[in-house]
Subunit: 145 residues, 4 copies
Amino acid sequence: MTAPTPNASTQAVSRMLQTHPRRAQVKYDPAALLECIDACFECAQVCTACADACLGESEHLVHLVHCITLNSTCADACLATGRALLRQTEPDEAVVRAQLQACLSACQACAAECEAHARNMNMQHCAVCAESCRRCEQSCQALLA
Amino acid sequence: MTAPTPNASTQAVSRMLQTHPRRAQVKYDPAALLECIDACFECAQVCTACADACLGESEHLVHLVHCITLNSTCADACLATGRALLRQTEPDEAVVRAQLQACLSACQACAAECEAHARNMNMQHCAVCAESCRRCEQSCQALLA
Amino acid sequence: MTAPTPNASTQAVSRMLQTHPRRAQVKYDPAALLECIDACFECAQVCTACADACLGESEHLVHLVHCITLNSTCADACLATGRALLRQTEPDEAVVRAQLQACLSACQACAAECEAHARNMNMQHCAVCAESCRRCEQSCQALLA
Amino acid sequence: MTAPTPNASTQAVSRMLQTHPRRAQVKYDPAALLECIDACFECAQVCTACADACLGESEHLVHLVHCITLNSTCADACLATGRALLRQTEPDEAVVRAQLQACLSACQACAAECEAHARNMNMQHCAVCAESCRRCEQSCQALLA
């Protein structure tokens, strides 16, 4: 996993963490924290887009129903997790860990489903989605380690 | 835990579950599922309101910062969980269980914090919030059992 | 529009508004505010459930794609609106009004789509969803008046 | 407004739009659409972080309460809008426009508040937040034009 080239969005979130009045109390490695927040919000966007792209696959739609359900639940888990990680003023570590575990589980399941559709039905949006899910899974794993 | 008297909202969600084309495949006890969905959305509302009410407690605000962070993260976890439970078309059981665990953890921590503020500072909104968090914690526990 | 029989959830939110330290500054009629918050969270739940129920309608699925997109976007608008209304500590009235307008627009479009499916394809979950959308549309209209 | 240098997240969302089965029916200019989605999710993250950073400003906290309320409601509006824009399979144009208007209104109010705190109290996180809010406001305006 190579680090992302910082763009406008990542830079803005990075600057928020650097100007945070409690930055000295943050428990996580700053680079790992930023990577995980970025991966969660990327995965939330990509899963929302994949559910929608699957809906647009008229011919294959009935085979993509499980994928859409996973995409939708994964997007919600990623948003809840990314937002929990952004809150560094007196957070509860156990609560954040449990949400990271839930996110990791959702990303893992969604990646596996999307990889199957990319392989078996040549679904390109599922291939992109699987990559974002794997990136997010790994970044959650890194924070949990 | 007594069942809630059904109101407009609970009745509407109940009717959605009863008219769902895949209702025969739902893995959970229907009453326990409805109770947990209702508890998640109640807790999401009440935690959002408690964070806001704490913000309005000008004199005590600095002592309520941890509570506001917990309220905010608990509200997000409850929404992600309630929405995951509403999706009964080909859900992934392990993913939903991990999200239920995260919700239970958030509700437990938020309830404990709010109970302390209700007891020590006579914060009435925290007392109400603690009740909703305990209701949600118990209903997640019931689905996980 | 008859007022909902208060249940556990509505009662909890009602008690949060009654114990709010800034309750004297709230601009809205308390009953209309509570009704709109309740209607937003009901509609968010019911629209999430309707998108999922539509996904489970294997035979009719291709005809329900627009409905699923509307359900999903309406659920998100209702959550954003219900949460904005729960925040009564120094809110911005113009921002809340614009979000109420967006919610009203989403509920109106989603209700019309669901009413058509209830009428033409006898989709019972769409009939329930249309009722919740109309309730929410009317309660947004009442607050905007 | 210069286009952001694409990073991992923006590239992933860009590839989702490029592989979308309904990409030929998308009503918006593709670059403007991608810019607005990216700006919405950046602003949602940055506003969530700004509310949290304000909570950590123990000495100035009572003066930042309106800012925290605006940040929270702006974050929710941005998420609802970004997700609505990601759904390009049979969307409802009027619904999306109303949500864009709500987002623009929230970003405008939040930017003005944050700019005042950056200027008067030298709040660096508010300065970063104001930039993200202005970027998002402009990208909503561009799509509405």
